[in-house]
Symmetry: C3
């Protein structure tokens, strides 16, 4: 693979089911969405489960995974030193390149969240069947 | 996307490697399997690792993720209020629509589980190579 | 499916984004990589996040998931009794069958890891865009 090939526009589709609610998992969400969208890949994200907590207007606190809690300060420092953008900044870049972000209607209901409770990162609230249909004939990741 | 398109039968294949053993992850397993099967998508599930504990006849207790343990009672209440079916009820619906559920032979051996130890949710005990072959030319999720 | 079909060479491609850093998740990494490579499937692995800790020369300790810590001794005993190879032995077998393992350049930078800090399991240090391009038209798992 060379740099020229790397600049070629892609034609694929990547769908991400974002379920995990610990802070660390939002980094690959942002990186993958931003990198794929920049390559011309269509990105659809379906937010469900504990991950919905990262998409409310009230910015609920995202816990660090229990097993790696001691590493949190060093990692945060490393992110700043490496000038890595925050996950939501990366997601906004992906959205400017036409990535779509949906909240799961069922889990929103279970958690008592209405459409107006979500931040502007959420494009719409939809059901799992709608998302599965959008993700057909592409790759789907479960984070 | 409109309602008519949403009713169109799908032709794809979704394979799920179910590894995680915390209670929360069984909800997306049930929802995705049920929704995909209802759309006419072929669903194959390969249960391995800690997730095998959810498929034994003795109903081993599934722990809540450490980081969100405090949210468990509210979520359970929300599931009941929203009339969300249990994960195994959703899986049974998927199985009536021809979804298949396999236990991983290697991890069953490691955990000392024999075919007769599994509930009737498990169709067969197979190896990873068999599952990989079944999942070819489709999408595969790792939960 | 019969044994003859099972021996047929596959033509697919499986890409794995290895993010999780708990010890248990390295078993499916090894099993899936080894089984897929043995079937003739092209395997690309992109190691990022906490999983990078398993690929350094200094063999950093991989914690067991908090919820299942009490099960660790029994599982280790079961692995030995069932003669299951270690995850890195399985990964080496996969690499002999042409599987490739890459470290994520961004997260390596965040964690202060240089190319020479990684064990010989790592073939190269690359960015997310390079990996996404390699994984096109195949299946991708996020572990």
């Amino acid at each position: 693979m060379n740099a020229t090939a790397a600049r070629t526009e892609a034609t694929g589709k990547v769908s991400i089911i974002m379920f995990s609610g610990t802070a660390d998992k939002f980094i690959p969400l942002g990186v993958l969405a931003q990198a794929a969208a920049a390559m011309g890949i269509q990105v659809n994200i379906f937010v469900t489960g504990f991950a919905l907590r990262g998409f409310t207007k009230t910015h609920q606190d995202l816990p660090f995974p229990a097993e790696f809690a001691a590493m949190a300060p060093a990692l945060e420092k490393g992110m700043q030193a490496a000038h890595v953008a925050s996950w939501d900044a990366m997601l906004r870049q992906a959205k400017e390149l036409d990535a779509k972000v949906y909240a799961c209607s069922m889990m929103a209901g279970v958690m008592g969240l209405k459409k107006e409770d979500f931040s502007d990162l959420i494009d719409d609230v939809v059901g799992a069947a709608t998302f599965l249909q959008q993700s057909e004939n592409g790759q789907t990741l479960f984070i």
